[in-house]
Amino acid sequence: MGVLEGKFEDNVLVTSLDWVFNWARSSSPWPLSFGLACCAIEMMATGASRFDLDRFGAGAYRATPRQADIMIVAGTVTLKMGIRIRRLYEQMADPKYVISMGSCSNNGGPYWKYGYHVLKGVDEVIPVDVYVPGCPPRPESLLEGLIQLKDKIRRQTIARKSEA
């Protein structure tokens, strides 16, 4: 994880730091501009005028994985691409999150049965935080997925995990 995680016991100071950190992280999730297939068009539409992902601070698409916070896996992951996606994920700096957008990246979608070259779910290669269903998901669904991710980030803490 990031620079400060897991170094402190849980206390009042940590709680308020948590609040600031989580606020900052959830307020500016920069996505990696990385489209695979059909869902990428809907992802672009989500960033465009009518839906405007930037309202939530997530409009700064970064082209390089080093500077991105969330990876929106938008589309079918093939076996040839799966290796690359794993590498891209490893190149991202912590804390990093993954939104799996669309049926194909959730579980292979329509290509589940006869897709000899399709990875059946991106979670086979990288951990996924939020799954957005749909083929392709509507932009509203992606926005909802993003908000779910924000909620998830807000529940994080930098305190050391208790042993119990």
Binding site: M1, G2, V3, L4, V20, F21, W23, A24, R25, S27, S28, W30, A48, S49, D52, D54, R55, F56, G57, G59, A60, R62, A63, T64, R66, Q67, D69, A93, D94, P95
Partner: protein, 351 residues
């Protein structure tokens, strides 16, 4: 800095401190103030850019973070970037890689020292202000080249090389386009240059004579190239070089590049304001409004920010040039034009 020294004297017991502390305190305090000021300014510029861009594109831009029109968006971005993991690639040249963001940021920060925000609001009114400005500002390229080289990434390398070529080339017409002003004023001090333009809009150098009028536009275009803004943003051209020289940078180090880019934007706007738009001096002619109604610093900011707005406007409207076209523009169009302007202004001054 004088005013800060006066202020510090008001605080009791400062005279009891050792002499070297007394000597170092005023510059240190001004440096801290300046740093905060530059950081806040850059963050504001980032927010402004996102909002202006969004409205040009029929969007709204950041709306929720912090409440009113997402005013806290840049703060959240900055905190988040500071908290991110700091990756130094295994194959990178570690020392250069770590030093590069600082070397990019420090010159843009140092250049603010001679920017006259108001009659007395200037950190140091050097008598070679303009020279200092150009000397310091051109140091940025060293940092960019270092970043490009040290990352051990081909895109970074391309970005660094492009940037070096571009900034070094555009320094020349930029410096030459300032010459007409200096010829007229006869001083390199920034405050002197502003004082020469007091007394209303008709005294601003941009409207003084045709040569300085053209020189303003020339300087503005060159300054766009120097701060790597569209249409000259080829060093970090997103669609070509991913992110150019800062492709491999994450977290805090990237934040420095980011802040440097936006503070540079304001810096060149400030220089253009000082040299051509009368700096802190008033807009309305002195024969109508004898006394300056709006405080100088506010006027300065308004003028500089309107230039920043133009930069943003251009960025979101224009496509970007290609490397060879950029060089063509510099060496075959801008440079001869700048030489003609210097010659013309010189002749005009002599005559």
């Amino acid at each position: 800095m004088e005013s800060i020294r006066d202020l510090l004297e008001l605080i009791p017991y400062t005279t009891a401190l050792p002499v070297w502390v007394q000597a170092i305190l005023p510059p240190a305090v001004s440096a801290v103030i300046l740093f905060l000021f530059v950081a806040v300014l850059a963050m504001f510029a980032i927010w402004l850019e996102r909002k202006v861009a969004a409205h040009m594109q029929d969007r709204l831009g950041p709306m929720y973070v912090g409440g009113w029109h997402g005013w806290a968006q840049s703060i959240a971005d900055t905190i988040k970037l500071l908290l991110k993991e700091d990756i130094v690639p295994a194959a990178a040249d570690k020392a250069l890689f770590k030093a590069a963001p600082a070397i990019v940021f420090i010159p843009s920060f140092a250049a603010f020292v001679v920017l006259p925000f108001g009659i007395s609001s200037i950190v140091a009114d050097l008598n070679i202000g303009v020279l200092y400005l150009f000397a310091v500002a051109s140091l940025t390229v060293v940092g960019i080249l270092m970043a490009g080289w040290a990352s051990n990434n081909k895109y970074s390398l391309f970005g660094g090389m492009r940037s070096a070529a571009q900034i070094v080339s555009y320094e020349i017409p930029a410096a030459l386009s300032v010459m007409p002003v200096i010829i007229i004023v006869g001083s390199l001090s920034m405050q002197q240059i502003v004082r020469a333009q007091t007394g209303g809009i008709q005294n601003w150098f941009v409207f003084r004579n045709p040569f300085t009028f053209l020189a303003f536009f020339l300087y503005f275009i060159c300054s766009l190239a120097e701060v790597n803004r569209t249409p000259f943003d080829i060093p970090e051209a997103e669609s070509e070089l991913v992110a150019g020289y800062h492709t491999e940078y994450s977290g805090m180090r990237f934040a420095f590049f980011f802040l440097a880019e936006y503070s540079n934007m304001f810096l060149v706007a400030g220089i253009a304001t000082t040299l051509f738009l009368g700096g802190w001096s008033q807009v309305l002619p002195a024969q109508w409004v004898p006394k300056q109604l709006i405080p100088g610093p506010i006027l300065f900011f308004l003028k500089a920010l309107s230039l920043v707005f133009v930069q943003i406007w251009l960025r979101w409207t224009l496509p970007r040039l290609r490397v060879d076209q950029l060089m063509y523009l510099c060496w075959k169009v801008m440079l001869p034009l700048a030489l003609v302007l210097v010659l013309g202004a010189g002749l005009l001054a002599v005559w």
